[in-house]
């Protein structure tokens, strides 16, 4: 099958990658670029585990084709921390014990970061709605919501 040459920006770096027409962005990230922080939970766009942003829009990377992302700006969990300096959301997820098995965590963090960019001071209900597209089977969400609200406070300072 003919591969397509894609040039795009990933976590601030310009990259080149050869992708097959049927490959999802999720597959490109995991299988071609070996960036496995983004997880496949359902591959149908229902669980949010594969969340990334493209040009600032929150998407399920399992529903985006690799060939669609040329010339875009993609951000994944691998780009969230600044070197060893964790993002406040990452810090707060750790502090509030807002994670257990860790598979949904990257997607939740990406979704939460997007939420706070759109709405820097959300109410608890807005956080719950903002994260409604991300399933977590371990935590029951309580600590996740607390962590996001706490991070919002820190990030506003």
């Amino acid at each position: 099958m003919t591969k397509h040459h894609i040039q795009t920006t990933l976590n601030g770096d310009e990259i080149d990658v050869l992708v097959e027409p049927a490959q999802s962005l999720l597959d490109v990230l995991r299988d071609e670029l070996h960036m496995t922080g983004t997880k496949e939970g359902c591959a149908t766009g229902d669980c949010g585990a594969c969340s990334v942003t493209i040009d600032g829009n929150l998407v399920c990377s399992c529903l985006v084709l690799g060939v669609e992302v040329g010339g875009r700006n993609i951000e994944t969990i691998e780009g969230m921390a600044n070197g060893d300096q964790l993002h406040p959301l990452q810090d707060k997820f750790i502090e509030h014990v807002a994670l257990q098995c860790g598979i949904c965590t990257p997607g939740l963090l990406i979704a939460a970061k997007h939420l706070l960019e759109e709405n820097p001071d959300p109410t608890e209900e807005e956080v719950r709605y903002g994260l409604a597209g991300n399933l977590c089977r371990c935590t029951g969400y309580q600590k996740v919501v607390e962590a996001v609200l706490d991070a919002a406070q820190v990030m506003q300072k």
Binding site: C42, Y129, T139
Partner: protein, 785 residues
């Protein structure tokens, strides 16, 4: 044995400290490596499973010739290619990994295609022609009972004469209630990577709660010895019982492809396949009869507990034993007959799921208790109180174990007081009086959960600890990490034992070549058995180090003390690292295994009697819910939990377990509905049709408290208690609250039958039923029409 009683905290990361998950930083950066994240080895094959489209069919022909010629295909294998035995049964036998001539559920693997990529395997699979002769499937409990089809012989828990007691009792109720199964929906689906080695060696990286069973299963299937197989598990992306036995078949299929092709082979089930191919929680139908006094005191209880065990027994006998041993919950039942019927059906084998039959058994007895209350027109909590386990003979379970650590009365009274239950109940009444469409309900759920595997043999744990000459420690044990925080808890235990900071301790992946013959990380027992085993191993090394230190300082060994990263003899001290180096120079072994067997437990599986549980864990929840009587929708408004965890090894981890288990239980009882069509196809096989709770579905007011100052009465590791499963059953309060709301639509004159899950449809049907029956009644409570 006498366990260690306390742990001091002049080190970082001692037992009882609130510590984050040991992989937390890797979790938030995406650096944590799960099986599917491992860098691919050259030549790795991916496996596409070809499954039966029929629930029951004879396989009459298999033609793979064309598919074998498809691009990228390395091999296509069926039951006939298995070099050893096509059997991975955990308890019984003849439970195949690939259907051999007979397919017994829709989704049962028949062949595997091993190809360069998953997509190539799937393409090739389209060229395979399997001929089936379709047989009539048995899909329901009733059909199976009619045919007398069981996956193993039924068994019962019996005490006294239930029928006589019911007959003689002043009042009686009878009824029926069902609860559905539940998909585990771990976010990481089933996956295994098998790598062939020298000779016939094979290494399997598996997402399993039970590395030893995978090891045994792979050896069995490949016809090799157990020592030829190495299973390694670093972490799972959730498991919840779904990777206790169900991971074995996945790993065995990967190992089969690897062994037959000589190439590494990976099988990762995609979400929909995972839901269709692998087992789920047992659904149950209960038929009950109870006899009781005018005061509500139960005299005799009879419950027929029928479950769809699925196509094979798997661990159904264990699940049923736990269901039978938890259908008393917190109540003393003088005369009992619980009959467990494991129906063999043409559906995927039901399997372990957090609670393991316990939630189902409790749901049954809580229905009986509430039915009794409704019949007598008394508050249900009065009926609970009068039936709670107590003293003077009223403390022996139907299976013969004496309940010695009962705190349910104090615990429930305290919770009711703290949340002002009476005031809340009045507010619910007021709301309902003022609202015609929305109705609220409120309910308490008490929980007593037995800790230990029912089968005494399984209650053993092993650990391997090394101390190196720089004082760093390597920790390994038989438990697996699925997100529950077991690894950090056991590391805390070792830190406390050595009195060193936890960052000196390396946590390592579970491996069958380090600690052999382990039990599954299951039954909430992970920290109990592995924590104690690690403590025993560390204590052994510590004694040897103390001997070297005593020689060095010229004191008695007994006067050497480990404290705050140092080793003391009187006023003199050396660092832990120096002591390790000293011990090495003195030719002391700095490596030890630890082994623990849970004491004082017994079980006779023939008579279904004994004392199978080392102790009980208690908890209670009060939940308030509201239903929309026009749409059947429900919402949980508030949940207050008080949970006993003994002296928690790590309250931060335990809080997460309580909240997560509660929400998971809530899902089971409200939104998670498994639907099979009339041909036995699962129709709810992805998150678009199978609804686990989301962030908006959990109670907006959710207060969780750990019972303080409640050390375990038996000497478990640092007097802690198990936590993995017990809080799941607290969510039964949500279902009870919804049923209470439904009952209010008929003025509480009749007892509603509400099956679980309480979906909008189930709630609407229950409302209709209640209104109809209430209207037909001249009220038995007031005598008015």
């Amino acid at each position: 044995m006498s366990g260690p009683e306390t742990a001091t905290s002049d080190i970082v990361g001692a037992a009882h400290a609130r510590l984050r998950h040991d992989s937390a930083v890797k979790h938030v950066t995406g650096d944590a490596v799960y099986v599917d994240d491992m860098p691919p080895l050259p030549g790795t094959l991916e496996i596409f499973p070809v499954v039966s489209p029929h629930a029951h069919a004879t396989i009459v022909s298999v033609d793979i010739a064309e598919a074998l010629r498809a691009p990228g295909v390395a091999g296509i294998f069926g039951a006939g290619d298995i070099p050893g035995k096509n059997d991975i049964a955990p308890i019984f036998s003849d439970e195949p990994i690939l259907a051999d001539g007979l397919a017994e559920y829709a989704g049962q693997p028949v062949l595997i295609v091993a190809a360069d990529t998953y997509d190539l395997g799937r393409d090739a699979a389209r060229l395979i022609d399997i001929g089936y002769e379709v047989l009539d499937p048995v899909l329901t409990i009733d059909e199976a009972l009619e045919k007398g089809q069981f996956t193993y012989p039924p068994h019962s828990v019996v005490r006294g004469d239930a029928e006589g007691a019911i007959e003689a009792a002043p009042r009686r109720v009878s009824g029926e209630v069902s609860c559905g199964g539940q998909d585990h929906f771990y976010l990481e689906s089933q996956v295994a990577l098998a790598v062939p080695g020298e000779d016939r060696d094979i290494t399997v990286h598996a997402s399993t709660q039970h590395p030893t069973e995978v090891q045994r299963g792979v050896a069995h299937v490949l016809g090799i010895e157990i020592n030829d197989v190495l299973v390694e598990v670093r972490r799972m992306g959730g498991a919840f019982g779904g990777k206790e036995t169900q991971a074995t078949g996945i790993a065995a299929l990967a190992a089969l492809a690897a062994a037959l092709t000589g190439r590494p082979a990976k099988l990762r089930l995609r979400r929909d396949d995972d839901m269709i191919v692998t087992g789920k929680r047992h659904d149950y139908r209960f038929r009950y009869e109870a006899g009781f006094g005018e005061d509500g005191r139960l005299e005799g209880v009879k419950i027929e507990m029928a479950t769809r065990s699925g196509n094979v027994a798997d661990c159904s006998s264990g699940v049923m034993a736990r269901a039978l041993c938890h259908a008393d919950n917190c109540y003393y039942l003088p005369h009992v007959r619980f009959d467990g019927l494991p129906c063999k059906t043409n559906t995927v084998s039901a399997t372990a799921f957090r609670g393991f039959g316990g939630p189902q058994g409790m749901l049954a007895i809580e229905t009986v208790i509430e039915h009794v209350a409704a019949e007598l027109g008394k508050p249900v909590d009065d009926i609970r109180r009068i039936n709670y386990y107590g003293d003077g003979g009223r403390n022996v379970t139907p299976y013969g174990q004496t309940v010695k650590d009962n705190i349910i009365v104090e615990l429930t009274e305290r919770l009711m007081r703290e949340v002002d239950f009476e005031g809340r109940a009045r507010a619910v009444d007021d709301f309902n009086a003022a609202n015609a469409t929305l109705k609220k309900g409120i309910a308490l759920m008490p929980v007593k959960f037995g800790i230990s595997f029912n089968l005494p043999t399984l209650n053993q744990g092993g650990a391997l600890v090394h101390v190196y000459t720089d004082g760093s420690v390597h920790l390994n044990h038989g438990g697996t990490e699925m997100g529950q925080g077991l690894f950090v808890k056991v590391a805390q235990v070792v830190a406390s034992t050595f009195q060193i900071d936890i960052d000196r301790i390396k946590i390592s992946s579970t491996r069958t070549d380090k600690v052999p013959n382990t039990s599954a990380t299951a039954a909430s027992s992970g920290s109990d058995i592995n924590g104690m085993a690690a403590h025993i191993a560390a204590t052994e090394i510590k004694q040897r180090m103390a001997r070297a230190a005593a020689d060095h300082f010229g004191v008695e060994t007994g006067s050497v003390e480990f404290r705050a990263n140092r080793v003391y003899a009187g006023n003199e001290s050396i660092s832990f690292a120096e002591c390790a180096h000293l011990a090495w120079r003195a030719r002391e072994s700095l490596s030890a295994t630890g082994f623990y067997r849970t004491p004082d437990i017994s079980w006779d599986a023939k008579t279904m009697t004994g004392s199978p549980f080392y102790y009980y864990t208690y908890g209670a929840c009060i939940a308030e819910a509201v239903i929309d009587t026009l749409t059947g929708e429900s919402r949980v408004l508030k949940a207050d939990i008080l949970q006993d965890v003994g002296n928690s090894l790590n309250p931060a981890i335990d809080m997460g377990q309580i909240e997560g288990a509660f929400v998971q239980g809530m899902g089971w009882l409200t939104s998670e509905e498994l639907v099979w069509d009339e041909d036995g196809h699962l129709k709810t096989h992805g998150p678009s049709t199978y609804k686990i709770p989301g962030s908006r579905d959990v109670p907006p007011e959710f207060n969780v408290h750990i019972l303080e100052d409640a050390p375990n009465m038996v000497p478990t590791i640092f007097r802690s208690k198990a936590i993995g499963e017990p809080p799941l059953m607290l969510a039964i309060s949500v279902w009870l609250a919804i049923r209470d709301a439904v009952a209010r639509t008929g003025g509480r004159k009749v007892f509603p039958r509400l099956d679980a899950p309480a979906t909008p449809e189930a709630i609407l049907m229950a409302i209709e039923d209640v209104r109809e029956r209430a209207n037909q009644l001249p009220s038995p409570l007031t005598g008015e029409g």
